[in-house]
Each structure stands twice: as C-alpha cells, then as structure tokens.
Assembly symmetry: C2
Homo-oligomer: 101 residues x 2
C-alpha cells in the first residue's frame, strides 16, 4: 500500500470551498482505500489530507481521472500553498475500504 | 469528528513487533471511524498512525478499554519516542467506517 499525509493551505477564506471540491468524487477512485479530508483546528486556512492507495501507481493514475482533473482545475486557484508532506507505507488497521469499481 | 496524525518511534529493531501490537484490537473500539498504521519509508524505526474518532471523548474512552490498556502495556517497552503529532477535525471523504458495537 501507498500512503500520503499532507497539509494544504487554502487562500484566505477559501478553506470550506476547497474542502467541498476535494470531497467531490472521492470514493470513485480505483485503488483508493482511504481518503480523509480534515480541517486544522490551529490554522483557519489549513487542510489535512490523509490517503491510502493500493499502490503508488493507483495514486498516480487517479490524478489523470477526468473527475480528479476537473477538481484540480477548480480547486487550484483556491490553494495558497502546501505544508508538511509525508509518504507512508500503510500496513493495516481499521477503515481501509476497497472502492467500488 | 476528531482526528490524530502521529509519528511513533520504535526501539531499534522493534518496529514490526510494535506494529503488530498496535494492529491487534483495532476495529472493536467504539467511536473509531478509521485507525491506520503505516511504516515510514524514510526511517526504519518510525510508524505513522492516522486516526479518526466520532469525538475527542470517544478517543479518550478508547484508552480505557481493557484491550487497549493491554496493548499499551505490551507496546510501551518497544516505544523509543514520538515525533510529529497533529490534531485534526475530519470533515469527510472516503473510508470513514462506523465500527461494529
């Protein structure tokens, strides 16, 4: 499995809009086992995204999906920057859900 | 919802054992919506744990469960320390699974 933990910084006042865009379409991404979007209680503009994919390849393929491309195009103007980013190798646990084809 | 992203450092050579202990019992924790254990590909002793709970209270209550207390007692000697820790407010996404009672 392939995991990502990342912090995204929304443009001032745009966090809710950006979270809504990020939320659209999750669940219809092949190879996605978990994709959770959270706000940061210590920073009014920060968003945490934690992801688990079957493989690095399935994550990369998702970036080419029309629905994801559309979300990226729509969300990009609302992104002011990025914070921490960690790549992980998920082993197991609870909440890894095979997405429906 | 209440989220945690945290890095745990295992004692030298103990990461696999610690991951196994952490994995035992996840899924039978009331209020737990996601609990994913990952290794860090850049540090042979580091573990990332990403958690989503219904509330801060359900997380705190889980620490008192006998199964979790037992895991803590068993795992503690294998923990060398902790790294980054972030509290989040999960909004949604994919892979939030209500645990069975």
């Amino acid at each position: 499995m392939y995991g990502l933990i990342g912090k995204m910084i929304a443009a001032e006042g745009k966090r809710d809009d950006l979270i809504r865009i990020l939320s659209e379409g999750t669940g219809s991404m092949p190879g996605c086992l978990s994709y959770i979007i959270a706000s940061d209680p210590t920073d009014a503009n920060a968003i945490w995204i934690t992801e688990v994919w079957e493989s690095k390849e399935s994550h990369e393929a998702s970036l080419k999906l029309p629905s994801v491309q559309a979300a990226i195009a729509k969300g990009r103007p609302m992104i002011a920057g990025f914070g921490e980013r960690f790549i992980t190798e998920p082993i197991g646990g609870y909440g890894l859900v095979k997405s429906k084809p």
